[in-house]
């Protein structure tokens, strides 16, 4: 199977509403198991430790599929990849940040942070831009 076929197969499995369960040989660190039990029993985090584990696993898999899908798309269409500044602007809009109306400041922050932290993400750009605003106030 190629990468896209693997993504499709994972998606198919994630969308399958078959309620069948399996006993698995996956080993879980004891501290995590105990923490999950406490969270279920005392915080109402989920109906059971098994459900908590399954939901967390599903969420992680969905995020991984989304990321891999986007990366595959950018490989096929390099022009489609948003810049760090464009993603940061989108995040500002989604968060209702005042920076959403100041794209020039986001652009500047993205350029500056990329020099010092090449793997910075959109949230880091917004924090950088906010810090610059505070410093200059």
């Amino acid at each position: 199977m190629n990468d896209l076929e693997i993504l499709d197969q994972i998606n198919k499995l994630l969308d399958d509403d078959d309620p069948a369960t399996v006993n698995t040989s996956m080993r879980l660190p004891r501290n995590l198991r105990d923490a999950a039990t406490l969270a279920v029993d005392h915080l109402g985090t989920a109906a059971s430790a098994t459900m908590l584990t399954a939901e967390a696993l599903r969420y992680s898999l969905e995020t991984a599929v989304m990321e891999a899908t986007l990366q595959a798309h950018y490989q096929q269409h390099p022009h489609a990849r948003p810049t760090l500044a464009e993603t940061a602007l989108a995040m500002a809009e989604q968060d209702g940040s005042p920076l959403a109306t100041q794209p020039a400041k986001i652009n500047q922050a993205a350029q500056e942070i990329a020099v010092r932290f090449p793997h910075a993400d959109a949230e880091a750009v917004l924090i950088w831009a906010e810090a610059r605003e505070t410093m200059s106030a």
Partner: protein, 135 residues
């Protein structure tokens, strides 16, 4: 939980890599993906939006967008009743009324709508708190 909701043009822009707003919508999906790593969030599309945008999940051309984990919000009986009321009150399209009914049915107050028509979305969502982003 944050919910990202797509209107017709947002879907069309997402499907077509040559659409002039493709990158902008992808920037929002990227932001959504990065936020997912820190807090629960999901992306949904009303099924009538899919109809209008021509997104048939069974077509080979839909393979890429199908992989993005954008789930369907169906036009069930209850949503239909709400959408009917919205349409009667505002005169907006059936598709936008379905989107509005979907928005109003969500329990979250962290709702984001990607749209090319913020005016109609404001009417569609009514009193439901939503961040309406024009693409």
């Amino acid at each position: 939980m944050r919910v990202l909701l797509f209107d017709n043009e947002a879907v069309q822009a997402l499907i077509n890599p040559h659409h002039r707003k493709h990158r902008r919508v992808l920037a929002h999906l990227e932001s959504h993906r990065q936020r997912r790593a820190k807090a629960p969030s999901r992306a949904i599309v009303p099924t009538t939006v899919r109809v209008e945008a021509g997104w048939n999940r069974t077509r080979p051309g839909s393979a890429a967008i199908n992989r993005l984990r954008i789930t369907d919000a169906e036009l069930d009986s209850k949503t239909t009743d709400t959408a009917t009321e919205i349409r009667a009150e505002t005169g907006i399209s059936v598709v936008d009324a379905h989107l509005g009914a979907t928005a109003r049915s969500l329990t979250t107050n962290d709702l984001i709508i990607l749209t090319s028509d913020p005016h109609d979305m404001t009417q569609a969502t009514g009193n439901k708190p939503a961040t309406i982003i024009t693409i």
